[in-house]
């Protein structure tokens, strides 16, 4: 085969080839190899242009000859960021060496950097298909990511609109507020209790959050059991609860319910092999005591009564009295 014919064949079959002699002098290179080389290749010494890093550093053509047919990792000495892989074989001419190069996985960046087109790769080369896949997958991933974001937003919105406290199954603040507004609008008699656990922080701190969560679930069960179906029980903060008791507005009845709840709360709650000891303080208001009650006012006054109950020593139930408003504001 004539040399010219051989070069032409290699240009088509492996356009990233470089041909050099036993002295290392490059006498031909494929069109793509020339395109990506930082400088003109012809006449240069192969080992001056390329640094061969693997299988081990190769510093002579003789050493390279011992490595025919194996995968080489190499790079241009003057453009060290671009990793190449290649393979060297002896050519048909005596003393001729041919190395075929490829970008390996860095091809995606290389294509952009060198403005390569489909014509720069051999017809059988799968680079263009690989680029297609990379782009197709990015587009698909992008669509999926957008879908995920939308779902996440929808979830957050749904959580905001939810009316249930997920840990205890009780109503949440939103739901309780709605119930209070509904009761006010219907001008029904009702009472509002604001309860706060005593010593809950100690349980959480010394026995862990799992114990704390268990206690909250037990508290929820107690409050639900001690109230009727028509009443509303909600968890409105970490260890804060609001109970809306529908009629009657008899203070004695309300006090009895509150005391019973406190008593039950004081029964140690088993968790694993330990006992959690808590108590509770409760402040109450009766809607009928007001001329034109508002939800804010009732909740605020129940909170003031709760503060007074805590202040009077834990484990108590206290009804709101106007003088407490001052105290709680100062506090």
């Amino acid at each position: 085969m004539s040399e010219k014919k051989c070069y032409k064949m290699l240009d088509v079959l492996c356009p990233m080839h470089v041909i050099f002699d036993r002295a290392g002098s490059i006498n031909a290179a494929g069109p793509t190899a020339r395109k990506i080389a930082p400088d003109d290749l012809i006449g240069k010494n192969f080992l001056d242009v390329f640094e061969i890093k693997r299988p081990r550093e190769i510093k002579s053509i003789d050493a390279l000859l011992e490595r025919t047919g194996v995968r080489l990792n190499l790079r241009f000495r003057s453009a060290q960021n671009r990793q190449l892989k290649g393979v060297v074989m002896e050519g048909p001419e005596p003393g001729q060496l041919i190395v075929d190069l490829s970008f390996g996985i860095s091809v995606v960046d290389a294509v952009s950097e060198f403005d390569l087109t489909a014509a720069d790769f051999a017809v059988t080369d799968l680079t263009v298909e690989m680029l297609y896949l990379v782009e197709a997958k990015s587009a698909a991933m992008d669509a999926s990511r957008q879908l995920n974001e939308r779902l996440q937003c929808a979830r957050e919105e749904a959580e905001q609109q939810a009316l249930t406290d997920t840990l205890t199954g009780l109503k949440n603040r939103r739901a309780i507020d709605q119930d209070i507004l509904a009761a006010l609008a219907a001008r029904e008699p009702f009472a509002l209790m604001h309860a706060d656990l005593d010593f809950f922080k100690a349980v959480n701190d010394t026995m862990g959050h799992a114990a704390g969560d268990h206690v909250l679930q037990e508290v929820a069960r107690i409050m639900t059991n001690e109230t009727r179906e028509v009443d509303s029980v909600g968890r409105v903060g970490g260890d804060e609860f609001v109970i809306l008791l529908k009629a009657p507005e008899d203070p004695e009845v309300i006090d009895r319910i509150a005391r019973r709840i406190i008593e039950k709360l004081q029964t140690p709650i088993p968790f694993e092999d330990k006992l959690c000891r808590i108590s509770g303080s409760v402040g109450s208001v009766i809607a009928g005591d007001y001329l034109n009650p508002t939800a804010d006012q009732l909740l605020g006054d129940a909170d003031a009564a709760l503060y007074a109950a805590k202040h009077a020593g834990r484990g108590r139930h206290v009804f709101f009295a106007p003088h407490m408003r001052e105290t709680s504001q100062i506090a």
Partner: protein, 204 residues
């Protein structure tokens, strides 16, 4: 009329394409009117979900009705839209990977269903077959039980010929032996400069 069920569901990408076409070309109000008329119970298709096969024909029918446009024409416009509108640049690029010239691209259509599946594994599009009658005359057969894909591909081919800068005359020959057939007469391989296509360009 659309009929049949090649697969049991239609990929959201296709439904989403219809939605974006209507919104970008005719405005949101027309789209909302169409979904309302179709009675599908929602207004937004998710690109990466799948939908019951029966939904797509209902939506297309409603879109035709709302816009007062014939079915074949509408589908051809959708085909043109999905490869030429700047809002859906990704598909044009993916199709351009099929070949360096328009003729190479035509030949790559045989692989299109496989290419589509490589990108999105559950995306099913009808089998396509290109017949080369001469260097200037081709025909594309589109094997789908759902009528309309042929018109859609008319639009796609028209836009892609333009993209490659080729001048081609296209004619929908209707249903022949269970396939919608499009005749393609290539008048000029390099009629205009065509649009740029860089292998390495990244879509945003």
């Amino acid at each position: 009329m659309l009929a049949g069920n090649v697969s049991s569901y239609m990929h959201g990408l296709i439904n989403r394409g219809i939605q974006r076409f209507v919104i970008d070309s005719y405005g949101e109000a027309n789209w909302l009117a169409a979904t309302r008329q179709a009675g599908i119970g929602f207004n937004d298709f998710e690109a990466m979900w799948t939908y019951d096969d029966a939904i797509t024909p209902r939506v297309l029918e409603a879109v035709c009705d709302v816009l007062g446009r014939p079915y074949d024409e509408l589908l051809e416009d959708i085909g043109t839209y999905i490869v030429s509108h700047s809002n859906v640049e990704a598909l044009r690029r993916l199709l351009r990977f099929g070949g360096v010239t328009f003729v190479e691209f035509l030949h790559s259509l045989d692989d299109l269903p496989d290419r589509a599946r490589l990108a999105v594994s559950d995306l099913e599009i009808p089998r396509l077959e290109l017949m080369e009658d001469s260097a200037e005359r081709y025909s594309l057969r589109c094997y789908s039980e759902m009528e309309g894909w042929g018109s859609l591909f008319m639009g796609v081919l028209r836009a892609m010929a333009d993209d490659y800068g080729a001048l081609a005359f296209l004619e929908h020959k209707g249903m022949q032996d269970g396939a919608e057939t499009i005749e393609i007469a290539l008048l000029e391989r390099e009629y205009a400069a065509g649009r740029e296509f860089e292998l390495g360009a990244r879509t945003a």
